[in-house]
Every structure is written in C-alpha cells, then in structure tokens.
C-alpha cells in the first residue's frame, strides 16, 4: 500500500473532505432556494469576522478541545470512549460543588480547585466503565453510552433535590460567588493594555485547553506511560508480552480521558454560566468524537478541528439568526462535515494515495 506523505495525510485530506462537505451543503442550500454564497458569508462574518464572533467561536472550541482530547487519549489505548458527555456532566457537578463550597476570595485560587473537582468527578465517572471493561470484559462503548444517561438523570436529581436554592423554581444551582468568575479573553487582553472584544464567554479556560494539548502530547509521545498506552492500543497481546498490564492501562487511560472531559466544565460551567444548569454540556462530548476523529487523535489536529467545529457552531447560530435558512440545516452542514472528515475519510484518502503512488513510481 502506498503511504501518503505526512503533510498530505494531515492537511490535504481533511481540507479536501471539508471542501466536499461544503460543496454538498451548498447544493442543499440551493435546493431550498437560498443563496449558499450569502450563507457562507454570514457564517464567516458571524464566527470570525469580529472579536465578538471570535469570542464565541473560541468558547465553543475550548469545550471541543477538552472532549476531543478525552476521546483521543482513550482511542490511543484502543478504547472508544463515547462517554465524554456524561463525564463532562459529572465534571460540571464537581466544579459546581467546589465553587459553592467556599466564598472564594479570588478566581486564581478557585480555578485550580475547580479544575481538580471537575477532573476528579469526570475521572470517577469513567472509572466504573473502565473497571468493568478491564475486569469483566463489558464493552466500554456500551457502558459509557449508558453512563451518559445515568449522568443526565443524576444531574437532574441533584439539581432538583439537592442543589436547588430554597424557593427557586429553576432546576439549577445558585449563582457561584463572585470570586469564582473567570476572566474572559477580553478582560485578559485589557489587562495587558489591548482593546479586544467585549462581553463574550471565551475565557482563561482556552489557555488551559492549549496547555492540556501540550500535556497530552507529552504524555502520549514522550512518557513511558504514553508508550504503554499506544502499545496496548495497537496490540493487547504484544502489550502483555512486554509486561504491560491490560487492566492497568485500561483503567489509567480511561481515568485520564474522563478527567479531560470533566475539565471542560471549567469553561462552560465556571467560565460561562456561573452556575450549574441542566444539560450544560450541550452535546460537546459527542462533538469531541468527531473532533478526535478529524484531528487523528493528535493534539494539534484536535486543536485545529476544535476551532473548525467552534466556527461551525457559532457560524451556524448566526446563520439561524440572520437568514431564512432553517436551524435544522445547520445541523445538516455539521453532519456533512463529520461525515466527510470522519466516516468517508477513505473516500478521499484512497484516490490521493493512488495519485501519490503514481507520482512516486
């Protein structure tokens, strides 16, 4: 089999897939009598045409980076973690409990504690499926899906019966104390004397997400643990031959994965909402699967793919607001992107391989 050059594999293939997805989206938009060019302009302007747009795009991207990394770490161990949604839900609970526990004097103190809370809760939620897989052979795909539902139900119960402030009719926690409010990116730009944007939700968590990308890269490609995770993901029998414990790697990889998903709550719960509400993850756990797939489980790819999906989310919201294109079509466009960059990847890859193979020959 001909191998593609690395740059073609990492850049050309997704770009062509993306172009195909947009082309088909354009046909669909034409078919309902709208102007695809105007739609694209609305999306681009809305998502990246202003600091306001960027503020939302980066906010969404931050969520997707965390869940994308979560899916990727598990994928390197050969585990398909579909439970990032539930793990992020539980991470939200962890963050909320930390934020409400103390009258935090300053966000810089609250943030590390909240990160720890989110990561611990997310990891704990991944631990049970991991343990069942490692010890009992219950497939992690099935159990993590089920744990998403359990997480949603658990959050529902906790918000209605435990954390709801007395007298409130809203299934949500009280607002977090002011000392837990994270600085937005525009606050931070202002602090260094740059005027950038205004009240948008992108916050300091974005920088944490970037740091997480770096740390995951180090973990996977530079540490003995990462070596073992990758080896186990490629061949369980070889891993056993090399003295790598399948039980240990399954559990450890899922713990890291769950912790990363749980960390997402620092962005959406602590950074944006300032309280814990129902369904606060809004599907970001599932988008993480597409992001990891498109980013080839590499942190840099995940970063770029998360930006793309942030763009699609924000651009799609703008499109629904400022055009006659129905909201459902946004989902269609997002689905096409996932379809082409993920599921139909080989459709683009194989002709490319033939092309490169001929050139090399």
């Amino acid at each position: 089999m001909t191998r593609l050059p690395r740059w073609a594999d990492l850049i050309l293939t997704p770009l062509i897939s993306l172009a195909l997805a947009f082309a088909i989206s354009a046909v669909v938009i034409l078919a309902i009598g709208q102007d695809p060019w105007a739609a694209l302009k609305t999306m681009v302007t809305g998502a990246v045409g202003s600091s306001y747009g960027w503020g939302y795009t980066l906010y969404y991207a931050t969520n997707f980076i965390f869940t994308g990394l979560a899916v990727a770490v598990a994928a390197h161990a050969g585990l398909f973690n579909i439970g990032a949604e539930g793990q992020a839900t539980l991470g939200g609970l962890g963050v909320a409990l930390v934020c409400l526990a103390l009258p935090w004097p300053h966000w810089a103190l609250a943030l590390p504690a909240a990160m720890l809370g989110g990561a611990l809760f997310g990891a704990a939620w991944a631990l049970i499926p991991a343990w069942l897989q490692a010890k009992r052979g219950s497939h992690v795909v099935i159990t993590t899906i089920m744990f998403n539902f359990i997480a949603a139900a658990l959050l529902n119960w906790v918000l209605v019966n435990v954390l709801r402030p007395p007298g409130s009719q809203d299934p949500a926690t009280a607002n977090f104390p002011a000392g837990t409010h994270l600085p937005t990116l525009s606050d931070m730009a202002g602090a260094i004397g740059v005027q950038w944007g205004k009240a948008t939700p992108a916050n300091v968590s974005f920088l944490i997400a970037i740091a997480a990308c770096l740390l995951v890269w180090l973990l996977i490609w530079r540490t003995p643990l990462g070596y073992e995770i990758r080896a186990f993901g490629k061949s369980e029998r070889a891993a056993r031959y090399a003295g790598i414990s399948p039980v240990r790697i399954t559990v450890v990889a899922m713990l890291i994965s769950g912790a990363l998903a749980g960390l997402m709550a620092v962005n959406n719960v602590m950074g944006e909402a300032g309280r814990l509400v129902l369904n606060n993850v809004e599907g970001a756990g599932f988008i993480g699967i597409a992001v990891a797939l498109m980013g080839r489980n590499h942190p840099l790819g995940i970063f770029l793919a998360a930006l793309l999906f942030g763009f699609l989310y924000q651009g799609g919201a703008e499109l629904a607001l400022f055009s006659n294109i129905p909201r459902e079509l946004i989902t269609v466009i997002q689905a096409l992107v996932i379809l082409f960059t993920g599921a139909l990847d080989n459709m683009v890859r194989m002709p490319l391989e033939r092309l490169f193979g001929r050139r090399a020959g």
């Binding site: 070596y227 490629k234 090399a242 003295g243 790598i244």
Partner: protein
C-alpha cells in the same frame, strides 16, 4: 507404495514432448509503486510435472503466483495456458482456465462441513440438495483416485490441519483444476502428513495434473519436484532439472552468495542449571488442559530444543516462562530460575525480564513487535521502563534512537532506517529487530520461539549464528520450533512435546527425523529406531541434509 515406486521412475524424465506446456509465462513484469516485484519473468512448466518455485521472502514468488491466479494484472507479459492466451483477468477466469490454488492460510469456513466448503461458490442450482449430492459422488471418486480421503460430512474445524489441506485440494479438483498451485504446503504439517501430501501430489502428477509448489524448504524441493525455478529480487535467475542440482546450489542461487546450510557449532559446555521446570501443569480458561506435568532443565551454555507439532503446549509453556500467559489460566508446578522459585499465579512479563529472562516470541508480528511503531521504538519494547532509557518523567528518546542505530548496524537490519515502522521491514529484518533487542539485554535465559519462521535463508544463517554465540557466552537457551531441521541443527539436547507432555529426550546426533516424527505424533519410545524405517519415505534418507537448516 507401488504408486510411489512407479512415479520414481518418471522423476528423471519429466518432459512430455510435442504437447504444449501447461503453463508458459512470457515476459511478466509487475511493479508496486517504486518496487519492481516481477521483472520480465519467463517460465515454462511442462504438463504432468511438479514444478518448484523457490526464493527468499520478497523475491516475487507470491506476486508471480497471484498474477497467474488473477489477483493482479501484470504490467507487461503474457500468460499461456495449454498454449493459448488464457485471458486471465481475475480468479474466476483463472479457475475457468483450470488453475486451482491452495493457499498457505486455508480459505475454509470452519463451521461448515467438508461438502459445503467444497461446493461453496460452485453451487450450480438455486437449491443446495442437488449440488450436494453431486459433490458427494464426485468427492468419493476423487478420494479413491488420489488418496484424498476426507469425511464429507465432517465439520472443517474438527479436522486436522493435514485434512483441511486435503479439503482445499479437493475444492480445486472439484472445480476441474488441471494446474494446482500450492503455497508453502508443508509449513503446518507433521513429517508424516507432509509425506502423505507428497504421495497425493505424485498421484495427481500420474493423472496428468500439473503442480506448482512454492516453498522455502529445499529438502522438499529435492524430494518432490521435477524442475525447479529460482527467483531472486523479482527476477527468475534459473530454472533447472531437480535431478541436476543440489540444495547448496539452489541456496546459492536464491541468496546470490554462498550460504552455509549447516549450523557450525562447537560442542556445548553446559554449566549449572539456569531454568528448572518441575511438574508444570496448565489448564486454560476454557478448561482445556494444555500442559500435563512438564519437567525440563536448561543449563547455562546449552541449547535445549523442543520439537513438536504446533499446538501441543509449546506456546503455553513459553508464555508461562515469559510471564505473559493468558489471564484466567490455572498453573501449578514450579519454575525455578537459578534455584529461586518464580511466582506462577501472577503474570508479569516485566518482572521476568528483570529476573534475566529474554524472550523471542513465536509470533513477532502479534507479540514481539508493535507493527505501527517505528523500529527505534520497538528496540526498547518490554524494556521501555528501564531506568537507562528515562530522563526524569520522560523517555530518553534520543538515547533510544542512538542505541537503535547501533543495533541496526550490528544486526545488519535493512533498510538501515530506524524511523521506519516495523511493518515496512521484511519478515527477516523484523525478526532481526526482535533478536537484536532480546540479545542486547544479555539475558541469562533466552526463550526462543520459531526464530526463523518466514525468514530468508541469509537471515536464518545470521540468527542461528547469534544464538550459538549467546550459548557460547554462557546463556541458557530454550528453543521451540516446528522446523525439525532447525531443532536438530541448533539444539544440544532435544525434547519432544506432544499433547502437553514431554514424550522423550534425544541427543541430536543419536536420533533421526523419523524417530522425532514418531514422538511428535505421540508414539511412545519413538516407534522405529533410527537405523530402520522406510528410507525413501523419510527425510533421514538424506543424512547429508538432515542436519541442514533447511
């Protein structure tokens, strides 16, 4: 034996004049990207002969046969079957042209019966019953004609490997194959099964069938073929009458230089026992008893070879010793390393390595290497947590790479590029990576499983020499191989395993392939003394070759 005797007379006169040859290849070329797999290959196979094709891995044998069987289209060249252009474009047209192929890995549906497997894809009506009854009659006829007895109603997975192979041959004959291609047909057979196969092939030749055998076992080429073609690096370097050549000459043609077929070694000087296995029993998680009280000692400075047909407990023994037996198995008995008991209940291959046990596993592609990892990453596989490869919390990849480059040079791994993924190396070079890694750690005990399976002659010679060097340096080596010649050539002592038991121990210079073969088949005491037996039917008829590595 009369059939075999009459065939022997034809051995020297394979040519059937004035009839168009069964197969004629003219100028076949095939490239995969930059790799020229077949270069202008021409070959003629006369009707009613057995034709051997030998060559190292990657020499292009499989590509050539795949072209003949319609899997690949050649870039240039012509295939004539019976003198006419057969127009082979896919395997369907190859079958129509009368070509049948028996693959190394059988293409049978394990949970279907022999009969169902035979008609699979050749059902000739919407209802199965008429096809089945026709096939039943046809099978009976074929069975009588060619000694191809198989119970048509047996489920394939219950059959022995030798019988499964017969089903493959029957499948081809049922489709009216006149030309039969067999790829490494004896790789999985016991010596007796191989002998039976040869009888079948001679019978088929008697009936005018043409047979092509791809193999790397030169002894078999000498025994069964009429003519032999040698391939090297995509080219056909020679086609000779088997009677006019010798294994040494064929090996030289294959490799392109003189090859030492015999393992050259001094007598062993065994020291203190390093490994002691006492009454080792193992029941796997499905409840099957795999080891039934194995007793075994390996001393420093000696190679103990375990002969046996694969699947008789060798794998389980090696996995237990290496500390990576499948979880859930029940193991009893004792394993001592330099007198100290090793824990058997907990499997921990890393601890075994620290205890000084090196391990070249039976299946390098599934166990010994991570195929997608680069060569340099693979050179620390299993030792990746050793302190010398760490710097702080990270792995010292620079150091690992430098070491990998040194190993590549020392073990002559080709291509000498430690950044290539393991899967991009040939089988022999993959094995060299594993051997280099395990030998480099200087273990007191080295477990070696199938060290040369699928490995080129040149690399076999190299690997064998390294193992002997290790032995001479005082290491204890436990060798498992299904290649009897390898066992006989390398070992200082031979034990034979059958059904999870040690059947007996022999000295390599005081036994014969025939005697070991009987032990391997579970016959107590080896049945026939080495001096007797049936000379022509057994490999030891060629004492000059019995010790060879091929």
């Amino acid at each position: 034996m009369t059939a075999t005797d009459s065939v022997a007379g034809r051995h020297a006169a394979p040519e059937t004049a004035s009839v168009a040859p069964a197969i004629e290849l003219r100028g076949i070329s095939k490239a995969f990207g930059p790799v020229q797999a077949n270069k202008d290959i021409s070959m003629t196979v006369p009707r009613g002969t057995i034709h051997g094709i030998v060559g190292e891995n990657g020499a292009g044998k499989s590509t050539l046969m795949s072209i003949l069987y319609g899997f690949y289209r050649p870039d240039a060249g012509q295939i004539l079957i019976g003198g006419r252009d057969a127009g082979i474009t896919d395997s369907q047209s190859a079958i129509r042209a009368g070509i049948g192929m028996v693959f190394q890995h059988f293409k049978l549906v394990p949970n279907m019966t022999v009969l169902e497997n035979v008609i699979l894809g050749a059902e000739d009506s919407a209802l199965l019953a008429p096809s089945l009854s026709r096939a039943r009659g046809e099978l009976r006829r074929l069975a009588e004609e060619y000694e191809l007895q198989v119970d048509p109603d047996a489920v394939v997975e219950t059959l022995s490997v030798g019988h499964q192979q017969r089903v493959e041959i029957l499948k081809a004959l049922y489709r009216h194959a006149d030309i039969l291609i067999l790829d490494e047909p004896t790789g999985v057979l016991t010596p007796a099964e191989a002998e039976h196969l040869f009888r079948i092939l001679r019978g088929l030749r008697e009936q005018g069938k043409t047979i092509i055998v791809i193999t790397h076992k030169l002894r078999e080429v000498m025994e069964i073929t009429d003519n032999v073609s040698v391939m090297r690096r995509g080219e056909m370097v020679a086609t000779v009458r088997t009677a006019d050549t010798s294994p040494e000459q064929l090996a030289e043609l294959m490799v392109g230089r003189k090859v030492l077929l015999r393992v050259d070694k001094a007598p062993a000087r065994p020291g203190a026992p390093v490994l002691e296995v006492v009454r080792l029993e193992m029941v796997d998680r499905t409840g099957v008893t795999r080891l039934r009280g194995v007793d075994l000692t390996v001393r420093a400075g000696e190679i103990v070879g375990i002969a046996g047909v694969s699947g008789n407990g060798q794998t389980q023994l090696m996995e237990i010793l290496g500390g990576y037996a499948e979880p859930g198995a029940r193991v009893t008995g004792a394993v001592r390393m330099n007198g100290a008991d090793l824990p058997l209940t907990r499997t921990d291959a890393a601890a075994r390595r620290r205890a000084g046990i090196g391990n070249i596993p039976e299946d390098r592609q599934v166990e010994g290497l991570i195929m997608d990892f680069s060569c340099w990453e693979n050179t620390v596989f299993g030792h990746h947590r050793d302190p010398e490869y760490q710097s702080g919390p990270l792995m010292d990849n620079d150091r690992v790479r430098q070491r990998a480059e040194r190993l590549i040079a020392q073990f002559d791994v080709r291509p000498a590029n430690c950044h290539l993924a393991a899967r991009n190396f040939s089988g022999g070079n993959q094995q060299k990576i594993v051997v280099a890694r395990e030998i480099e750690e200087k273990p007191a005990l080295l477990l070696v499983g199938q060290p040369t399976r699928g490995v080129d002659i040149g690399a076999i010679e190299f690997i064998h020499r390294r193992l002997i060097e290790m032995r001479d340096a005082g290491a204890a080596i436990l060798l498992v191989s299904v290649e009897l010649d390898e066992i006989m050539g390398l070992s200082d002592r031979i034990v034979v395993m059958f059904d999870g038991r040690i059947m007996g121990e022999r000295q390599p210079d005081q036994t014969s392939a025939a005697e070991l073969g009987m032990l391997m088949a579970g016959v107590e005491g080896g049945g026939i003394p080495p001096a007797q037996g049936q000379p022509r039917a057994h490999p030891d008829a060629r004492p000059d070759l019995a010790k060879g590595i091929l």
